[in-house]
Symmetry: C2
Subunit: 543 residues, 2 copies
């Protein structure tokens, strides 16, 4: 495997080279004859025929990658610096000389140098992270959006893109059984962002500014944000960015008995205590499907607890939001959702929409615009057609002004699979996770630590008998069991062409996580994964 | 043009439908025979052969789009609601029944329903916004990254992606003549984000937290942020998000005599005044290439003014950053850059890297990590190989945790075009802009308002003689000239298959903006654009 890049020249920065009004390239004697012609424009860089030629190669490349993805270890055996040390320190001055153009050798390097160092998120044996689910419609929707490459920051900047986004988020909201209060078809509305971090930050900033408008800007230091010790770090990150004091972020403790859901009573007590101390409860982030164990906070009860304090309630359903397409999964998970202020989920996680595609819905879009809206004085391009109409300029709903045309792929996903197709997709994964859960339960050496709710199984090897019998030395037992499972994960992930799993520590318990979610995962991959876990466990327990 | 979507059924949400452990789809009598088979998995959604089949169609679709793009008006003649009214209010329950699968009709709708409502950013006649420049390597790099669909939020989450990003940002920094202090090859480092808004926000939050660690968290209300009245709204947006008081954002006035660059003396005076009033100067955003006129703030002199106050200096070169590949354009534009704390530019704007690709470099990456870093407690997946190494976990450098594999396309752009190819691309546009500028200057009815520096020409029709002669009624003259040019823009943009331009108001003067930057723009498009402007001007002045 010789990196083709070794053939590349380093940048040669000819400081004497000047812009020349006639033809700067030709004026430089150092340029080789093949490049010496004076290009009248840059349009060869986006030539339709060249695009077609190289594009077909890329499609075949990706198709071949999917066809052969099971032959890659999910996680590569590489050490830090492995790629840095292979690539030249300087960019190439000229593209590689190759009969087929420089694109061919570059693609070869992707295959030979880059792919072997990747973690293959689309591998059917990837059970470690929540999925980044790809689909034919999702990948090609991304390709199509990249080809069109519009920047729909305002309605005028690309009317069809702005309106397709409105359609797509309403479709998605309806498919997920969200209430009308959050949809354009009601009084709310949604947008497509990159990530849940952005969604939570947008909601938090809107909530903060509404509150500060009431109590005075100088009280920013008194604002308090609430979540549980299971809430995703995205909340703390958003709070830090928004200028909330670090010591005003409450991470309320959860426990195994509550299946690690946030207790409404604990929330109520915390808010009362803060209010009593002269602080100002501001924002609650409830989670439907936590990262570590897919715990579901009881939205309705939490909203009731938060209401007396006028707290903005956001629901983060980054992972489990996709499952809400299935009525049987949505029913209890979002009970009470009607009164929340905002809701977000990642359609790129488990709904086939490829990275990135986070949907955020808010009950009062105007509050986003108050906080994040920009005046249009920079570029006067108000559309005559839009005058007098209430168009949505999505730049005013987000952290960023520039944005990609994400609606296209989400719309394609709906067109190509339909809501029923998405349900079947989710149910297939839930069924496979249930299968894995059953296999764990059938082996008395193991236990399922938290009830499976979606497609994540949290399990572990029980501590060996001799340790379990040591009576009250619970701490020692826990430590020993944790060490045992830590070793088990390391060994499972070390098996050549085996499954790739992850772990978490909740309530002091080290658990293994098997997250079924790759689009390519089949039942046989799940069964094989379990066989590897059993086999490694047997080996460890024997030793 | 009948939207195919009208054929689609509305979602039918069968509330009685339950998850069934054997085969939920088959248990529902409503499902049609063709869908009644119990899919063992979702893997048909990412089937290699289906991907290949549909993927080749998408490549041809995009290639055809480029080949025929000149036939579209750059900006569509549509009114708000045009698309909302064509698409069904509910998502389809099932994909459309079509011999070729649902993807075919969906693609047909993109062509027939969506594209006619788009603003075509890749049109060779798009002179309105700074470009969102596409290239074969950029589009296909996006497609490839979408196909691989990895989420490199940590080194372990995809080692090759993390290291390729380090390589790509160092290559880019060297190509742009940035100092070693900002590169990994020095003591700094860079990352690829979505937009300049994120880059400025990251830098601002790092600066804020460093300062508050010194002076105390409760002084957030005293922090002051500086820019000019030409600074992009991204600064104000970032300041708002970061909790900086609205009345602590200084927008220092610029003037035509200074070519709308921020005056170091004015900055110095403002900072002294604020410090004297007990406030704390925090952050300066200097701009290299402002949005309205591509003004260049004098970085070195501004840094000298800011230094006594310990202010973090960020340089926003969102647009003009790409031009720095050309030594002759970089020379003066970033004089003094060695001492700045951070620098950002959008490689997706004018450097062929497709949306989105914003590069941010910082002198002290650890300050980003202090502000934005997250503990890894959620998912224990530390890589054994990474233990003891100083790997870069990019999630700690940004607003977001989830991120796309943007480095791949940037690396492909360098591989396919080389630094010299990028220079030729920039120079071709600069040359065409110079041509347009010359044409404006040759017509005595017009004037170039601000000196052209990159590929934006800011021009306007002079006020008619009779008004010019009215002596001291300058205000009236200005208003009349502004109205004249407002009408000119409206008429130019109204010409069928004509150019699409924009306007700005600087120092009270309404200017027309002709930004050359589309990859497909050739000299003939620039000449034709000027002919349309002249022809419309003649018509207006005659009337």
């Amino acid at each position: 495997m010789a990196p083709a890049s070794s053939k590349l020249h380093a940048i040669t920065d000819d400081k004497t080279q000047q812009q020349n009004s006639s033809c700067p390239a030709a004026s430089n004697g150092a340029i080789e004859p093949s490049n010496a012609k004076c290009a009248a424009s840059s349009n060869h860089l986006l030539d339709a025929d060249e695009f077609r030629r190289q594009g077909h190669k890329v499609i075949d490349f990706i198709a071949d990658y999917y066809a052969g993805i099971a032959d890659y270890p999910v996680h590569p055996s590489v050490t830090p610096g492995f790629l840095l040390n292979q690539l030249p320190a300087d960019p190439p001055s000229r593209p590689e000389d190759h009969p087929d153009g420089a694109f061919g050798p570059a693609l070869q390097d992707v295959r030979d140098v880059i792919l072997p160092g990747m973690t293959h998120w689309q591998s059917p044996r990837h059970f470690a992270h929540f999925p980044a689910s790809s689909s034919v419609a999702g990948v090609l929707g991304e390709a199509l959006a990249a080809g069109i490459n519009a920047v729909p920051f305002t309605w005028a900047a690309s009317p069809a893109a702005a309106e397709l986004e409105m359609v797509a988020v309403d479709w998605l909201g309806k498919a997920l059984h969200l209430p009308e209060s959050l949809l354009f078809s009601g009084a709310g509305g949604g947008t497509l962002l990159g990530t849940s971090c952005e969604a939570i930050l947008c909601a938090l900033v809107a909530a903060r500014d509404r509150k500060l408008a009431d109590i005075g800007t100088d009280r920013i230091g008194d604002l308090v944000v609430y979540g549980s010790d299971q809430t995703h770090f995205a909340l703390r990150k958003a709070a830090r960015i928004a200028g909330i004091r670090h010591d005003r972020c409450r991470e309320l403790q959860t426990c195994l008995a509550d299946m690690f859901a946030l207790s409404p009573a604990a929330l109520s007590a915390a808010m009362d205590a803060d209010a009593g101390a002269g602080l100002v409860p501001l924002f609650l982030c409830a989670t439907v499907g936590t990262t570590q164990t897919t715990a579901v906070d009881q939205v309705g009860a939490l909203c009731a607890a938060a209401a007396p304090h006028g707290v903005w309630v956001h629901v983060d359903a980054a992972y489990a939001g996709s499952a809400l397409v299935c009525p049987e999964l949505a029913r209890d998970a979002i009970d009470g959702i009607e009164v929340v202020d905002s809701f977000s989920m990642n359609a790129h996680k488990w709904l086939l929409a490829n990275t990135d595609c986070c949907a955020l819905w808010v009950k009062q879009p105007k509050l986003l615009v108050v906080s994040l809206g920009t005046q249009n004085e920079e570029l006067i391009l108000r559309d005559a057609a839009a005058e007098g109409h209430d168009v949505v300029d999505y730049k005013d709903w987000a952290i960023t002004l520039t944005r990609r045309f994400r609606a296209l792929k989400l719309w394609l996903v709906f067109r190509c699979y339909g809501v029923e197709g998405l349900r079947e997709h989710i149910r297939a994964h839930v069924r496979m996770a249930a299968l894995f859960e059953g296999l764990v339960k059938d082996d008395p050496r193991f236990e399922v630590v938290t009830e499976r709710r979606f497609a994540l199984v949290c399990f572990r090897l029980r501590a060996p008998d001799q340790l379990m019998d040591e009576g009250n030395e619970k701490k020692k037992t826990t430590a020993a069991a944790n060490e045992l499972n830590r070793r088990l994960l390391r060994e499972v992930n070390g098996v050549a062409l085996g499954p790739y799993m992850s772990a978490a520590v909740v309530g002091g318990i080290y658990i293994l996580r098997c997250a079924v979610g790759s689009t390519l995962t089949e039942e046989r991959h799940v069964r094989q994964a379990w066989e590897v876990v059993q086999e490694r466990a047997t080996s460890i327990l024997r030793g």
